[in-house]
């Protein structure tokens, strides 16, 4: 792996060296490394590009890293990764995609991740998207996430896209069974002429199920963002979604929340706020000695932390 790929790997997975535990590293469409453990197996799909990750029941405190890096300009790929998490397992899954495009053609990665989380299992899923390179070629990422939570299961998804992706359409669909809960935290920052769209649909199908969906974003310069969320309560459940955006310069942000209750005991809440940085926040930090620009950076960094 060359220096560019190593840098991407560090950005998306925080990896300086070969990770502990199970991993599968994909570089420019090829497998660049894999490790399995007694409890976690990784199998290459035969019908299409991608892998199956099978985590045995009762696996505790193990992690799986599946980073993807693209440094070849013009490469377009779709990858299908399926995660099967056994009963009572408790694992951390770290995915992420980094694109370095130093050429003139468009590089594009579409990752389709499906999670089948069995009863009472707990998953922490982290994905980061990052783009770099000074070529004119566009960097496009379209991650799709499909989540199936069985009774009592828990999945916490952290998704971050801070820099360098020209266009993204992020689709997440989830179904949550009785007593299961889903937490999603999304952070996005766009600049230049970038476009980011997120589209969440969560169906709560069982009693005592819950979802908490929190999106924080910053849109700078001429970038555009669209946030869509649909929460459907089919039982005695609790759903909350929150979209909080800072808009700067000539950017544009839209938020379209939708709530549907099909049960009298479904309790659904949506909060949305879009606005520029409050003048008093800038002033306070300036009275502490920061310049206006430094104050702005502090506020944005804190907001997306």
């Amino acid at each position: 792996m060359d220096a560019i790929q190593q840098n991407l790997l560090e950005q998306v997975a925080g990896l300086h060296e070969i990770p502990a535990g199970a991993y599968n590293i994909r570089a420019n469409g090829q497998m660049a490394g894999r490790n399995t453990t007694a409890n976690i197996d990784i199998i290459t799909k035969e019908d299409k590009s991608g892998i199956d990750i099978r985590i045995k029941a009762d696996t505790k405190a193990e992690s799986v890293h599946i980073p993807v890096v693209l440094s070849q300009s013009g490469l377009k790929e779709s990858v299908y990764n399926d995660f099967f998490v056994g009963e009572n397992a408790d694992v951390t899954i770290i995915a992420g995609c980094g694109i370095h495009n130093g050429g003139a053609s468009t590089s594009e990665h579409s990752g389709i991740h499906r999670f089948f989380v069995d009863r009472n299992a707990k998953v922490r899923y982290v994905e980061k998207h990052y783009g770099a390179g000074d070529g004119n070629g566009e960097r496009i990422m379209n991650p799709t996430t499909e989540i199936h939570l069985a009774e009592g299961a828990f999945l916490e998804m952290e998704t971050v896209q801070i820099k360098g992706i020209d266009s993204t359409r992020r689709v997440t669909n989830a179904e949550v069974a009785e007593g299961a809960s889903l937490v999603i935290r999304e952070k996005i920052m766009t600049h230049g002429n970038q476009y980011a769209e997120t589209d969440f649909t969560v169906e709560m199908n069982g009693d005592d199920s819950s979802v908490n969906l929190v999106s924080r974003s910053v849109a700078k310069e001429c970038s555009e963002q669209l946030f869509k969320s649909r929460i459907i309560g089919n039982g005695k459940c609790h759903g909350h979604s929150e979209c909080d955006a800072i808009i700067m310069d000539q950017a544009s942000v839209s938020a379209i929340p939708e709530l549907t209750a099909n049960n009298i005991d479904a309790n659904l809440i949506h909060e949305a706020a879009i606005g520029k940085i409050a003048g008093e926040q800038l002033m306070k930090l300036m009275t502490l000695g920061l310049t206006e620009k430094e104050a702005e950076e502090q506020i944005v960094n804190g907001f997306l932390k």
């Binding site: 926040q281 002033m283 930090l285 009275t287 502490l288 920061l290 506020i299 804190g302």
Partner: protein, 240 residues
């Protein structure tokens, strides 16, 4: 030493000019100076003009002889002016430790933060990593605001109604905070307040009324004038 010369400020209200401050002349080089006066007399405006948040329509501000009238908020802050807001600002995602580090102008250690917070009656363990967001009460924010000014150690510190929202128990501590700040900085502390106990510790009291300085002097000299501002109703005047 802070010097205000002929400061005037007016604002537009429905296409009509409203005079908020008129010809304010002051020299501040004492330990504790209290600015008091009825609501709407221009106290907060005066503080904002000193901090650079508002620009005076006329007049000059000098800090140690240097004209700072046209300097920005940031430049004044770096020259040694601090300003505790009447209503502290909340920040999503910025922690108490980060805010205090920005105020101190350096990365602070847990021990230092602990010292700062305990001065204002907060236990560092509960607050150091808390975000300065809506989960903090008004009183907690107010104390953090005061801790930030302490961390800055500047030659001029302005507090706009520091006692508002702070319970009586901490009142004595607030006064101790001011005393300690003066010991460390040897600077001037300007406090906008209505509280008699704060007026009691002031070396000098400035009474503002209708945008003008009505009286400058000791508590004994200023209090009768203060009570004469506006026309209190007879029942209230009798009680006083």
């Amino acid at each position: 030493m802070l010097e205000l010369k002929g400061i005037c400020f007016s604002a537009e209200d429905e296409s009509r000019e409203v005079e908020i401050l008129n010809d304010i002349n002051l020299i501040i080089d004492d330990r504790f100076v209290a600015v008091t006066g009825p609501n709407g007399s221009g106290k907060s405006t005066l503080a904002k003009i000193i901090a650079g948040i508002l620009k005076p329509t006329a007049g000059q501000i000098l800090l140690d002889g240097v004209d700072i009238t046209n300097l920005s908020i940031t430049e004044r802050a770096n020259m040694g002016i601090s300003f505790a807001f009447q209503q502290p600002v909340r920040f999503k995602g910025i922690t108490v430790k980060e805010l205090l580090s920005i105020a101190a102008g350096k990365d602070t250690t847990i021990t230092e933060i602990c010292g700062m917070l305990s001065e204002v009656g907060l236990c560092a363990r509960d607050y150091v990593n808390r975000e300065v967001n809506a989960s903090l009460s008004g009183g907690e924010l107010k104390r953090i605001e005061i801790a930030m000014i302490m961390a800055r150690k500047t030659k001029v510190s302005i507090f706009d109604e520091p006692e508002a929202g702070i319970d009586l128990w901490s009142f004595q501590n607030l006064i101790r905070v001011f005393e300690k700040m003066h010991e460390e900085t040897k600077g001037s502390i300007l406090i906008i307040s209505h509280q008699e106990r704060i007026l009691n510790i002031a070396d000098r009291i400035i009474l503002l009324s209708d945008g003008q300085i009505k009286k400058v002097g000791s508590k004994e000299e200023v209090m009768p004038e203060l009570l004469g501002c506006g026309q209190p109703c007879k029942t209230l005047a009798d009680k006083l």
